[in-house]
């Protein structure tokens, strides 16, 4: 199984190594411990949100609203803090709001059976509006020192947010591989009607996945707020959904569901992070950064597609 997994993610691993080598040659500053830590640090939010997005995409769905959920959660945490609520309680309440948003998505998608794109497109508008509305247009900033721990603190020598991210990644890799919920996600994404026949409640599993995604985005947004130090409700997390989706797909996920792994997605996030950081470190003209990022995304997808074609050739018989 391990070997198979490795094969599945081989192209993106190779491509990431290649890009890393390229940047190392272009800039001596790239392959520094400090910089690697920086890359990890800059992408904590992405890592955590991408876990949720992986599950959603494995189900065969997509979630366009993650950026708005992030904004709503981060803004409410900021509001709670400004009312003098203890940082830990404020964080917990913020995460609850993330879960609530997930429940809204889950309700319409799983229970009311409205296509996910429509629901999350709609909630993307709605949550963003609510976020800016409750913020009153002002920035959430000047957080108390105690809150900054979530974004900048250290635990046992490693940064606290990184620690949280690693734990979450480990938990969800375990969940996806070793628990029934995880396997149900794969089975629904692979063959929905068959999953139903096997007695799997598609409604409940979908609902759970969107709630978990809300939870993860909630956690990510607390870290985001604590790390960046200020939240602007109108722009926080804009563009996050597309970026995270791209990471999942670069990491070997299929938009049609059933295929993909958390580990692969994390590689995808890392790849995007490396590209963005590397282009700046190598002092590429700022005008070229976006163009080059887009080009590398497309290249990564091309490589993935080639891999899929190669794999499918190994099929037994010709009727399948």
């Amino acid at each position: 199984m391990k070997r198979l997994l490795n094969v599945h993610e081989a192209p993106i691993i190779l491509f990431t190594i290649l890009v890393t080598l390229l940047f190392s040659i272009l800039s001596p500053d790239f392959m520094q411990v400090e910089n690697i830590r920086l890359i990890l640090d800059q992408n904590i939010t992405m890592f955590i949100v991408a876990i949720g997005m992986t599950m959603v995409i494995l189900l065969g769905g997509m979630d366009l609203s993650v950026g708005s959920v992030l904004a709503v959660t981060a803004t409410s945490v900021g509001l709670f803090l400004s009312h003098g609520i203890h940082p830990w309680i404020a964080a917990a309440m913020g995460i609850c709001i993330g879960v609530l948003c997930g429940m809204v998505n889950g309700y319409f998608i799983a229970v009311r059976k409205i296509p996910d794109i429509i629901v999350t497109l709609a909630t993307m508008y709605i949550f963003r509006g609510i976020a800016v509305g409750i913020s009153g247009g002002t920035w959430m900033t000047n957080f108390p020192e105690g809150f900054r721990f979530f974004g900048q603190g250290n635990l046992l020598g490693i940064s606290f947010p990184l620690f949280i991210a690693v734990i979450l990644i480990a938990i969800f890799i375990y969940v996806m591989k070793f628990t029934r919920v995880g396997r149900r996600v794969y089975s629904i994404g692979g063959n929905g009607p068959a999953a139903k026949l096997a007695g799997i409640s598609v409604v409940r599993t979908k609902f759970k996945v969107y709630v978990l995604t809300g939870l993860l985005v909630g956690i990510a947004s607390v870290i985001f707020a604590a790390k960046v130090g200020s939240v602007q409700a109108s722009t926080a997390g804009s563009g996050l959904a597309f970026e995270v989706m791209a990471a999942v797909l670069i990491g070997g996920g299929s938009i049609f569901g059933g295929v993909g792994t958390i580990a692969g997605t994390m590689l995808g996030v890392l790849f995007m992070g490396i590209v963005k950081n590397g282009l700046i470190i190598s002092k590429v003209s700022p005008f070229w950064v976006d163009a080059a990022t887009g080009f590398l995304i497309i290249l990564a997808i091309v490589i993935n597609t080639l891999q899929r074609i190669r794999q499918n050739k190994g099929k037994e018989g010709d009727l399948v």
Partner: protein, 503 residues
Amino acid sequence: MRHPVLKMEGISKEFPGVKALSNVSFELYPGEVHALMGENGAGKSTLMKILSGVYSPTQGTIRLKGKEVTFGNPLDAQRQGVSIIHQEFNLFSNLTAAENIFIDRPEMVGRFGRIQWSKMYDEAQRLVDSIGGGEIDVRKEVRHLGVHSQQVIEIAKALSFQADVLIMDEPSAALPENEVKKMFDVVNRLRAQGVAIVYVSHRMKEIFEIADKVTVLRDGAKIDTRGIEEVTEQSLIQMMVGKEVGQLYPVREQKQGQEAVLQVKQLSLDSVHHVSFELRRGEILGLFGVPGSGTHTIAERLFGLKRGTGEITIRGAAVKINSPSQAKAKKIAYVPPDRHRQGIIKPMSIRQNLSIPMLPQLSKYTVLDEARITEMSREYMEKLRIKAPNDGQSVDFLSGGNQQKVVIGKWLAANPDILILEEPTRGVDVGAKAEIYHIIHQLAQEGLSILLISSEMPEVIGLSDRILVLYKGTIVHEFAHGEADQEQLLQRASHPLSEGGHL
């Protein structure tokens, strides 16, 4: 002495406006293979759905091992010991074979909700081995497995529920002829283990080979249950159809010319090696081989769905066929094996489905010529006797036979020189089969050259003027008209030297 493991009494099922089953009773004993027969629409599938927990009956009782039961849903039925294997498998192609067998099963979950993978693999392998699927690696993802292996996985899944009753719906439909034997081995093993099997099939030959008893349904009612030794093929058909049926296969008159319409030389691609043959005007050329032998690949190559080496000549002129549109331009038509996936666009109307390949001819400056399309669709609906209120009817609502006629019709409208038919009667009931055979025959009479690829041997034998047998990508034998019988054909197709395995 023996008690029935399953007893259905007075089962009726009504849908709004339709009575699908009326007062059907059915008994099943342990260790017997009980064939369930009937034309499409006779009520077989309703009965199976009731038995497997998809529907609940309007009236009547089901007793399992003497106890009255109700099934809330298919899983409920499975847990109580009744499993069904559908014609179309319900497998997760993205998951391993083992996981497919034990998907979402509490018994595979250990402490702290952890799935015990090694236990799952071991048990799955044991189950698969016990029904003779030893060569299957249960750690492989299902999408990498062949059809027979997939069926074995389905059976193993059913058995993993300790099934007392196993319903097999057209189990041989997707299987190559040589693998049907393997499937029978599995069924025999199950019978020996005391599992009661409901075997649903259209294929007479199989029924006589494997079944102990046969129950025939017609128009939602049970006609009779008899021991297999009490019936003949003819009497069964009569019970199913309710009247004498005419000749299933039309008598072929050897009228074809000698002029070769299509010549294939040294065709090679994928698993096909150096295949050469010619197809004459007005000829029905049978192409027979077990799946994997390359018959399907040849069809795909000739229709431009795949590319390869070798020379293709039409009426003496070498042609290049690299895409279906090029094939169409060369007047080659192809009726593909999987009607649902490749043949019809379900939500679209009959006229749209019929006219699709011909639209460039049926439009002026790309604007559709509605009058001509109407004329054309009426003509072919009449010619092929497609039963529908009008040509605006969505094909989704047609019976399998009529859907298949639409697929044939859309290519006839294109007025081809060469017609490739692959599995032209798959999933079609007896009545429609005979009609389709007559159509094929008539087309050949009119001068159309037909390449017939089928896994149903009687069909190939009954219709073809010549039969080419393919084995592992090469032509190993040619039968002239009337020369072949089923035994010989199968023997050639599965090669005398290595019985069985085509892998």
